[in-house]
Amino acid sequence: MSFVGLTRDEEQRMLKEIGVARFEELLAAIPQDVLLEHPPRIPGPLSEIELRRLLGTWSRENHAAELVSFQGGGIYDHWIPAAVDALASRSEFVTAYTPYQPEVAQGTLTAIFEFQSMMAELTGCEVANASMYDGATATVEAALLARRQTGRRRVVVAGMVHPHTVAVLRTYLDPGEVTQVQDMAGLAAPAALKAALGPDTACLIYQQPNFFGLIEDPAALHALAHDAGALAVAVCDPIALALLEPPGRTGADLVVGEAQCLGNPMSFGGPLLGYFAAKQSLLRGLPGRLVAETVDRQGRRGFVLTLQTREQHIRREKATSNICTNQGLMALRAAIHMGLLGRVGMREVAGLCVQKSHHAARLAAAIPGYALAFQAPFFREFVLRCPVEARGVVAAGLEFGVSPGINLGRFRPEWRDLLLVAVTELRDANEIDRWALALREAGGAR
């Protein structure tokens, strides 16, 4: 089965038109000894019936379907309204290519324009692009833009930016070009940051809320960066931005991050949705695609890809980035999601995340042996110090039908008794009670 629709007779007519007797003559340029005698030994062919059985079995080997999730750490279990799936699975969107011919791609282009508009509003920036691969690569692109803009090489990262984001930064940049500054009680440490910033620093990168869920002081961090002549890069959760003062309005030059939480499933960590927003003055240095409003020859409103001279297919080795295919369908889902939730729903979701996570934190802190690891205000997510190793708490959750959180010991051995817990609007009081029972059980087993 390869989805071809060609009969022997049609094939003969085609070969005749081409002017060859046999298909193999078309392969004359390929050296004989590299042509395979037999196709690669892969399994299959499988019918739909067999495929459904096989992948259905594998999907059930994941605990995901039946467990109630309190996991976060960059990927969150949020409500996805039914209309998001219904609309975003329309093949008009799914099976279209990048909108190279705008006259027959106004659907995709308009939706991206709306996505850009809403991301700009959330972040408080003048412009936002059409998407990046994920939050980590969006952060890398921000660092690279800052380097081009300032002519400086070094990047200062405030603790606690997500460890995976820092890891990806270290992959792209050379050793010595990334300075990570230790946190202070879970938050960015202003004095240590000030000491780390210097005349060689291109940008200061911080995360809001940070990896521990704690809320940083953006205005202070922006000022620190600017005092050193560096750009301020905020890596933000878009749902938190429905409540918090937008960083673009208090001086952030670039606001980037992960927007999986806007209408996209967790899907084992991909496909995700990186976003990239900036001050107007940085527009021509932006990576990725941009959609702009214009008119057609009759003066009707329409949308096109614009400023393509920044991009790889025009500028080649001098392009602002190598990105081509991005995460268009995820951006569409986010646009539909934000459109459905709207002004009221976005803030309600953010508000419920705050109330439910704080309720859960209060319950946990009352269980003997457990304590909040940090005292600063948090959004949706918090760190618990556990009386036993956190992986034991995670394992105990199974029995109660919950995934109680992320074992932070997987990141650093000294964090092995820390559990990172996320509570979204999806969790109800009963589920939170069940989660607290699991904690109690795990803690008592000491």
Binding site: S2, F3, V4, E10, L27, I30, V34, L36, R41, G44, S47, E48, L54, S59, E61, N62, A64, A65, W79, D85, R90, S91, E92, F93, V94, Q101, V104, G107, T108, E114, M118, T137, T171, E245, P246, P265, S267, F268, P271, V291, A292, T294, D296, R297, R300, V304, T306, E311, N322, T325, N326, Q327, G328, L329, G339, G342, R343, R347, P377, S403
Partner: protein, 486 residues
């Protein structure tokens, strides 16, 4: 009279809202108490529209798109083939869609099994030793491949010296852009008269400063590099690595393994060859396959199948280049590719490249009667025509592209590759039928005739699309990139 099309922000208004959220069922505290000293935003200027109207908005937008399920989409180098529906269904299974990437290996054996299987099948199909599934798209894979080669040279003490990457002038723009990203320098070599690699030009620039040669096979003109074994041999003799841009793997799949051509590393665009949908600009996935000597440098973690049948993520890779993605790459996309490979099986794979090549050659020979064909050799899965013959009528390739839209088909890739004047790059793929190809050929022939008779009509094309030709110059002069709030 139809209602004018409006943006979401121009619809509804105060008092309108979408689907409801549940009331808060836990004790609440005032935000000021929970967030002492935290600066909050005063308002969020967002759409206020009812669910039915949001549904109508995006449904109407969708009708403005051309897409594969509606008609022919011969974008060269993009491999716009049919995307099987079963693959969408399987990627959406709750056990996959709700899996969290930090849940731990024991809780995600199904995902890890799928990842390991994707790695195994892609390695088998491409003839390489190992595969990473982390890169999220082709260009991301290129960058990863370049980092792998850079790590290899550094491990041999040649990192400082080998900083040049040789790229033919027919290459995709992502190749030189990725080269710059890793701090290397691009050396462009001109193609030979037959549009393939000129061995003399290559030999002239190959030396002990060369880090790699990057080649697209078949190349962007749709030709298999007849001297590819010579190219990789020469490069290796000079101590360089060989990278294959796998954008055109659809021509080779099941028939030729890039690993057998002497390449050290390649990326695979699963959204092309392995039929995952393009989504209007992604998500794709760009797994990277490598030969044995590059395996130690692969990004962490790698899914490893154990003796006991379980799969674990291997983080202990001291020579690894590190992470290139927040988590495990575009896993949901890779699942679709896995389903596609399993549907095809060995014979189906070979049938893909066979019919892709057949379709392209048929279309090429038909169209060579009405358009210039700069390279008359048999092509692989795609071919490039030139619209230069229409210039005498004042008609450009752009006009041909726009006019095609009136016939319910998408335009080919235009003005690429750069080495062909007024280029029209056409890739039909294997899933198009004989009569679809004939319809496209007839439309192209009719446009060639129209050029001679009514050039002005072509300048005004398209005539039947939702909007006419759009003013791109105006868009870039003073870019309006977000909506005005009414």
């Amino acid at each position: 009279m139809t209602m004018p099309r409006r943006l979401l922000i121009e619809q509804g208004g105060a008092g309108h809202r979408g689907p409801a959220l549940p009331a808060c069922d836990v004790p609440q505290r005032p935000l000021a108490e929970l967030f002492p000293g935290v600066a909050l935003r005063a308002d969020l200027v967002f759409p206020q529209v009812s669910e039915p109207e949001v549904v109508r908005h995006f449904t109407e937008l969708s009708t403005l798109n051309h897409h594969v399920d509606r008609g022919f989409y011969p974008l060269g180098s993009c491999t716009m083939k049919y995307n099987p529906k079963i693959d969408e269904e399987l990627a959406a299974l709750a056990g996959f869609a709700r899996a969290h990437p930090l849940a731990g290996d024991d809780a995600t054996q199904g995902c890890l099994r799928a990842m390991a299987e994707v790695q195994r099948l892609l390695a088998e199909i491409t003839g390489f030793a190992a595969v990473t599934t982390q890169p999220a798209a082709g260009a991301h894979g290129e960058m990863t491949g370049l980092l792998l080669m850079r790590a290899y040279h550094r491990s041999r003490g040649e990192g400082g010296q080998r900083r040049r990457v040789i790229v033919p002038d027919s290459a995709h723009g992502t190749n030189p852009a990725s080269v710059s990203l890793v701090g290397y320098e691009t050396v462009v070599i001109p193609s030979g008269l037959d549009a393939t690699v000129d061995l003399e030009a290559l030999a002239k620039v190959l030396d002990d400063r060369t880090a790699a040669v990057m080649l697209t096979v078949p190349n962007t003109v749709g030709l298999f590099e007849p001297r590819v074994l010579e190219v990789t041999r020469l490069a290796h003799a000079a101590g360089a690595q060989c990278y294959m841009d796998g954008a055109n793997l659809n021509a080779l799949v099941g028939r030729v393994r890039p690993g057998d051509l002497g390449f050290d590393v390649m990326h695979i665009n699963v959204h092309k060859t392995f039929s995952t949908p393009h989504g209007g600009g992604g998500p794709g996935a760009g797994p990277v396959a490598v030969a044995q000597h590059l395996e130690p440098f692969l990004p962490t973690p790698v899914a490893v199948a154990q003796q006991d049948g379980r799969v674990r993520l291997d983080w202990e890779r001291p020579q690894s280049i590190g992470r290139v993605h927040s988590f495990n790459g575009n896993f949901g996309v890779l699942l679709r590719a896995l389903a596609y490979m399993l549907t095809l099986g060995p014979e189906g794979l070979a049938e893909v490249s066979r019919v892709a090549i057949l379709n392209a050659n048929y279309l090429m020979r038909r169209l060579a009667k009405s358009y210039d064909l700069p390279n008359p050799q048999h092509c692989m899965h795609e071919f490039v025509l030139s619209g230069r013959g229409l210039k005498k009528y004042g008609v450009k390739t752009l006009d041909v592209a726009k006019r095609l839209l009136d016939f319910g088909v998408h335009a080919p890739t235009v003005y690429f590759p750069l080495i062909v004047e007024e280029a029209l790059m056409i890739e039909p793929t294997e899933t198009e039928t004989f009569d679809r190809l004939d319809h496209f050929a007839s439309a192209m022939e009719r446009i060639a005739a129209e050029a001679a008779g009514d050039a002005e009509m072509l300048h005004q094309a398209p005539h039947t699309t939702p909007v006419g030709r759009l003013d791109e110059a105006r868009a870039s002069r003073d870019p309006r990139l977000r909506w005005n709030v009414p």
